[in-house]
């Protein structure tokens, strides 16, 4: 018998909750809903959701404060839902431990894709896929090799470090700070320009058309995302 995955929806707008509930139900997820931070924390303990969708603008508490509480009190995968121009807030939430984010207004397909990626990463955390596919590129995290259409691609150690960091959580956004902390572990000060240059050379080696990147996606002001196979499936709308 198949158990349905449970998603906690935290938003003070009942219409948004209803909408998300409708979309998730269509995709056969179970949902619980909270309109305040207090309810959310209570449901987090009693319902133990696999995934939580958290709007940062709650009436009773600053959403950013909730992020560490969610990570501490449960093993839920946390997806932030917030407005277009709240870039700083998103970066802060991600660096505090949130797993991904979704910008309002969102396509419900996009929402489902995020939830799917989150679930897959949850399972990978337990089992762990050693190979990650994105488009025609395959990354073998154990052998530390990268192939494109079966041919090995030679990457510099730093290029590989960036790609591996993205491939550890395929489909999920990784912030600049998170990538740089792994690529230059000994440095206190990080300079985004080095990361940008590395991503550009990576794209030249991996993308069919580096001008329209399909494998390494840029998240404006936040970080990068590896567009992996299942993610691309979900986004097969445009």
């Amino acid at each position: 018998m198949k158990t349905r995955h449970k998603v906690l929806i935290v938003d003070d707008e009942p219409h948004i909750r209803k909408l998300i509930h409708a979309a998730l139900t269509r995709a056969d997820y179970a949902t619980v809903e909270a309109g305040t931070a207090r309810e959310a924390l209570a449901l987090l303990k009693s319902e133990r959701p696999d995934i939580s969708l958290l709007d940062l603008g709650l009436p009773d508490r600053d959403g950013l404060e909730l992020v560490p509480l969610f990570k501490r009190d449960s093993d839920t995968t946390l997806i932030i839902v917030s407005a277009r121009d709240a870039t700083d807030q998103k970066v802060a939430a991600l660096d505090l431990g949130a797993d991904d984010y979704l910008t309002k207004p969102f396509d419900t397909d996009e929402l489902l894709a995020r939830v799917r990626v989150a679930l897959r990463n949850r399972m990978a955390k337990d089992g762990g896929a050693a190979t990650v596919r994105a488009g025609d590129v395959e990354i073998d995290l154990l052998a530390r090799t990268v192939t494109k259409v079966g041919h090995e691609v030679h990457l510099t150690p730093k290029e590989y470090a960036v790609l591996a960091q993205l491939a550890k959580f395929p489909g999920r956004v990784i912030t600049h700070a998170q990538i740089m902390a792994h690529v230059w572990p000994n440095e206190h000060e990080h300079h985004v320009e080095y990361l940008r240059v590395l991503v550009r050379t990576l794209r030249q080696k991996l993308e069919d058309d580096p001008q329209r990147p399909q494998i390494i996606g840029n998240e404006l002001g936040i970080g990068y995302r590896l567009r992996c196979i299942t993610d691309a499936d979900g986004e097969g709308r445009a």
Partner: protein
């Protein structure tokens, strides 16, 4: 010259705290590679040869041969090894050094952070422990590691160092600047003679530019000079040396009451400007100051005011003599140059009082003395009848003296049988000393003369005559006269000092009371009234305060209340305002007025005038009240300045408050509009998914349009509010363009979008979000004006000193002459055959955002094919130079 009274106790304490402690010497450099370590080792070697017990605590040779050779000559304390995360790190072994107890330890890289688990997190803390143990330490540091300069250095080198040394360490150290010219350093760098830590190599290209090095060098030199200056000051204070120790020039001008004094003040100001030195003006008040005439006092007050306006610190100090006063002041103010005037006094005056100039040159030592000639024609000194009257005293003084002498004579007659004749003479000392001390020299001499006559007549044989038989008795008469002279001189001096002290105490008390009164005022009106009331009370005059207005001076406050002034008074007030000079009675202008008007000068110019008059229509001010009035006016001006400043701050706060309200309103409107839109958009999408329909597509498209409209309104409001908060970061134009194309795929549905950006286009320093909005609006604009099916091209090109990012469409193009206007708010181009959707805000937002980031935008028509071309130009200053390749491997 060691005057123990002048030692500064605090400086002494600081010095004492250093005793028994090791001394720290820091070799300060502008950048890595200047040779600090080399210099330290060489210096250490010299000390070693001089018999000092020197060890190397820790020195980083970075494999340099010369440095290693120098280390070889020293005893090196082996490093202590600390294991950290699998690395073996060698740190200075502080316990070994303490146990070894050398006289001097060489410790490289003061700013170094120790490995976790060491005794202190920072090496300078180790050094402090060594110093506490009485061990001298030599160390090295680069200027960018100084805590207070860290931000400044980071701001222009764009490299921030984490390892900093507190400034207090530098303040207790002797500093030696290790300096080589930037060109030489760059040369050494190219030759590979400079060791750069592995993690810093990528910052190298930028950090070691000539302009950076020059700036760093200047900072280092300045910091070293500053340290020397501060230490010198402490030394002088502690040892009370009255020698010349000033590290910078300090000018002092001595001011007298003479009309030539303003010339001296101006000369001193020019000298100070030329030397870029601080300067001060001092007037030495001696007992002679009491005898100054009214005009002279006024002149003195004017000269002091002039000096103060020209930027001097001014002081009036009381001293027994001008030379004494100047000598002390020169030492206190650490003046290096004195400007004084040579007064054309009579030879008789100079003989009696000595020439101030000569005495000064002899008494002050190695301070430059500039003597400027006095102005003879201006020196016509008015006869001072007041002074004479005082010296002659009142008739009552003489009466009292006579009565006392008569009383002594009567007493003497009673005692003459029982005591010696010589002792009778002593009785007369009492009235002589009393008269001299109480009534002055002339009354004293009078008493002396009368006493001797009385003594002669009533007691000296032959009595009843004024002849003297015994020459011994002549001595008694002379002694009486001598006592009169000496006593009166001393008494006069003491009295003069007391008078001076008393009058300045009165003045200070009056000023203190005044400033208390006026600082308590909360409003301009209150302040003006308080000034009038206080001046009226202190000087016993009627006062009015007038402020300028378009219809002439306007009465704003008066004590006692006054509602109108005569025409002549208004004229005087106006003149005083216009010329910044006193006018009216007692001044030199419009003297027919009953009132005297003084301007209130503030830092913002003349604020108004204060008028003074006496009830009995007499002279408004006595001359000795002028300095007090000047001080009161100064205080009043300061109070007005303070109030103006407070009002400005209040204004700024109101503007701030208004802006805050506006943005609060905007963001709440934005939120209220967008929250339902968000739901509508997402819900429509979900509906389309569940049951597709054309109507739903329409709802979706219109909702999207409304969403863009709201977003544009909010963006425009941000542009118009000014001061867009920028979050500039290195950005890849490929990302920027790809993101914009992705987000506009709905509005460009019918168009083919081509991207053509040079593969080697450098990174740029912009706010990625603002650039994204610029591109979205340009692409939207293209989608709106160009017919479906036509291609839209995004082109990025490297120009010699810029990057041009263009959006080209094949629409109708831009009407000639409209190229600039097109970016104005709500401009929509006419002449198009159908109404285009849009708000007319898009291009204005592009311009506003681009300019906020320092970019330029331009619109042009193109011909082959016909269409419009919008170009964002990114200037060189926003373009990142290429990064060192090796750091990307």
């Amino acid at each position: 010259m060691n005057d123990p009274d002048r030692r500064d106790p605090e400086a002494f304490l600081r010095q004492a705290a250093q005793e028994g402690r090791g001394r720290l010497k820091i070799f300060l450099g502008a950048a890595p590679g200047v040779g600090k370590t080399y210099e330290m080792l060489t210096d250490g070697m010299q000390r070693r040869r001089a018999g000092i017990d020197v060890v190397v605590g820790v020195v980083e040779t970075h494999g340099r041969k010369e440095t290693e050779a120098l280390v070889q000559g020293h005893e090196v304390i082996p490093r202590q090894h600390v294991d950290h995360q699998g690395h073996r790190l060698g740190e200075m072994d502080i316990d070994a050094i303490l146990a070894r107890r050398p006289q001097l330890a060489l410790v490289d890289e003061l700013a170094h952070s120790n490995a976790p688990g060491s005794r202190h997190p920072k090496r300078y803390q180790d050094v402090e422990e060594l110093l506490d143990a009485g061990i001298d330490v030599y160390s090295t540091v680069n200027i960018q590691h100084i805590e207070s300069l860290n931000d400044v250095v980071a701001s222009f080198t764009r490299v921030r160092v984490r390892e900093t040394v507190p400034d207090s360490i530098l303040e207790m150290a002797e500093i030696e600047m290790v300096d080589i010219p930037p060109d030489e350093l760059i040369e050494r760098l190219k030759e590979g003679k400079v060791y750069i830590p592995q993690e810093a190599t990528r910052a190298l290209g930028h950090f070691f530019s000539k302009s950076n090095l020059t700036a760093l060098r200047e900072m280092a030199l300045r910091r070293a000079a500053q340290a020397v200056d501060a230490q010198m000051l402490d030394y002088v204070r502690a040892h009370a040396l009255a020698g010349s120790f000033a590290a910078g020039e300090r000018i002092l001008v001595a001011i007298s009451e003479l009309p030539s004094a303003p010339g001296l003040v101006r000369a001193a100001k020019r000298l100070a400007d030329a030397l870029k030195a601080p300067w001060s003006a001092v007037h030495i008040e001696t007992q002679r100051s009491l005898t100054l005439s009214e005009a002279e006092r006024a002149q003195l007050a004017d000269t002091m005011a002039l000096a103060s306006r020209l930027g001097a610190t001014t002081a009036t100090i009381a001293a027994p003599s001008v030379i004494d006063g100047l000598r002390h002041y020169v030492a206190d103010a650490r003046a290096t140059q004195i400007v004084i005037g040579k007064s054309a006094r009579s030879w008789w005056f100079e003989l009696r009082h000595g020439s101030v100039v000569d005495a000064l040159v002899r008494g002050i030592g190695d301070v430059a003395v500039h003597v400027l000639p006095g102005d003879d024609t201006a020196r016509a000194r008015p006869a001072t009848s007041g002074r004479n009257a005082r010296q002659w005293g009142k008739p009552a003084d003489y009466l009292w003296s006579t009565l006392m002498i008569a009383a002594m004579t009567a007493l003497g007659r009673l005692l003459v049988e029982t005591i010696d004749l010589g002792n009778i003479a002593l009785l007369y000392l009492v009235p002589v000393m009393f008269a001299a001390a109480s009534f002055g020299l002339r009354a004293g001499l009078f008493a002396g003369l009368l006493s001797s006559l009385a003594y002669n007549f009533f007691f000296l044989p032959p009595t009843g005559t004024l002849t003297v038989n015994n020459p011994e008795n002549v001595v008694s008469i002379l002694v009486l006269l001598g006592v009169a002279i000496v006593t009166s001189q001393f008494a006069a001096r003491v009295r003069a000092q007391a008078d001076l002290a008393q009058s300045s105490a009165r003045q200070n008390a009056a000023l203190a009371g005044f400033s208390r009164q006026i600082t308590a005022s909360a409003s301009r009106e209150e302040l003006m009234h308080a000034i009038c009331a206080e001046v009226s009370r202190l000087l016993s005059v009627r006062t009015v305060l007038l402020l300028p207005s378009p219809d002439g001076p306007q009465l704003r406050a008066a004590v006692p209340p006054e509602d109108r002034l005569e025409q002549i008074e208004k004229a005087a007030a106006q003149w005083a305002m216009d010329n910044e000079q006193p006018a009216g009675r007692g001044s030199s202008t419009l003297t027919a007025s009953d009132w005297l008007f003084h301007p209130l000068r503030t830092t913002r110019g003349v604020l108004g005038v204060l008028g003074l008059a006496r009830e009995d229509a007499g002279q408004p001010l006595r001359s000795d009240q002028i300095p007090l009035l000047m001080s009161l006016l100064d205080q009043a001006s300061i109070a007005f300045d303070r109030m103006a400043l407070e009002e400005e701050m209040l204004d700024a706060r109101q503007i701030f408050e208004r802006d805050r309200l506006r943005s609060a309103l905007l963001s709440s409107v934005g939120h209220d509009l967008r929250t339902p839109l968000t739901t509508i958009l997402s819900a429509t999408h979900e509906l389309k998914r569940q049951c597709p329909s054309d109507l739903l597509d329409t709802v979706d498209a219109e909702a999207r349009r409304l969403n863009r409209f709201v977003a544009n309104l909010l963006d425009m409001a941000r542009v118009e509010a000014g001061a867009l908060p920028l979050k500039v970061e290195p950005t890849d134009l490929f990302d920027a363009v790809a993101g914009a194309v992705q987000d506009t795929r709905q509005s460009l549905l019918g168009h083919k979008v081509d991207v053509d950006i040079s593969p080697d286009i450098p990174l740029v320093r912009v706010d990625p979000t603002l650039l994204h909005h610029c591109l979205i609006n340009l692409l939207d604009n293209a989608g709106r004006y160009a017919d479906p099916g036509t291609p839209v091209l995004i082109r990025g090109r490297r120009l010699p000193d810029a990057i041009a990012l263009s959006v080209l469409d094949e629409g109708p193009g831009i009407p000639p002459g409209a190229e600039a206007r097109i970016f104005d708010t709500f401009t929509r181009l006419e002449g198009s055959d159908r109404v285009k959707h849009g708000t007319g805000l898009g291009l204005a937002i592009v311009k506003g955002f681009a300019e906020a980031m320092g970019l330029r935008v331009a619109a042009a028509s193109r011909t082959d094919p016909v269409g419009a071309c919008f170009t964002i130009t990114i200037p060189q200053s926003c373009i990142l130079s290429d990064l060192p390749r090796e750091d990307l491997l």
